[in-house]
Symmetry: C2
Subunit: 118 residues, 2 copies
Amino acid sequence: MTIEEMRIRIDVLDRQLVELLSERARAAQTIGNLKAATSLPVYEPEREKIIYANVRAANKGPLPDIELTHIYERIIDVMRALQRNELASQRNAQAAQVERDRSGLAADARASETGKKQ
Amino acid sequence: MTIEEMRIRIDVLDRQLVELLSERARAAQTIGNLKAATSLPVYEPEREKIIYANVRAANKGPLPDIELTHIYERIIDVMRALQRNELASQRNAQAAQVERDRSGLAADARASETGKKQ
């Protein structure tokens, strides 16, 4: 195989990697949503230990465990940031809903007051 | 879906990611071997630009391009280190072969000298 042929192969692998990373990101977003509902924290050290153990157990080389862990540290960082964003936007949406409900109730109360006065 | 079910899904995705990263690493090693034969450098900025462009083009979200690039910077770093190791071990093997050939020739020369003296 020539270097050019190997590079075409790597470009294909990279597109597959982007697809898997995107799917993993969507799963992390979903967990972010579920955490918003249950008040669980984004950072869960025990869960992260399980992730690293799973990754090392799946590793058959040629990357040394330490190098694979380096890549995964970055993946986890990025996923955590995504989950924080998801949680924040969920909480903003909830706060906006509470605000809308409160304004609605106040308006109803005012309307009812006005009704009484007529 | 519960958080537990999503985590089982993520563990499966992680094992698939490890498989793809390993395959990409093997391809990088092969390129390292080919580079050893052609004296190409490990660091090729133009090639890395193509890799990042390919990754961004494949990205359909939910990760922002900048976050995906962060992950890829780490992947490229690790692959470059692997390629450097591959090149170094290739060159050590070549140097050892040259040394063996040289010793062999010297031994032949000595044997031939001894032969003449007899």
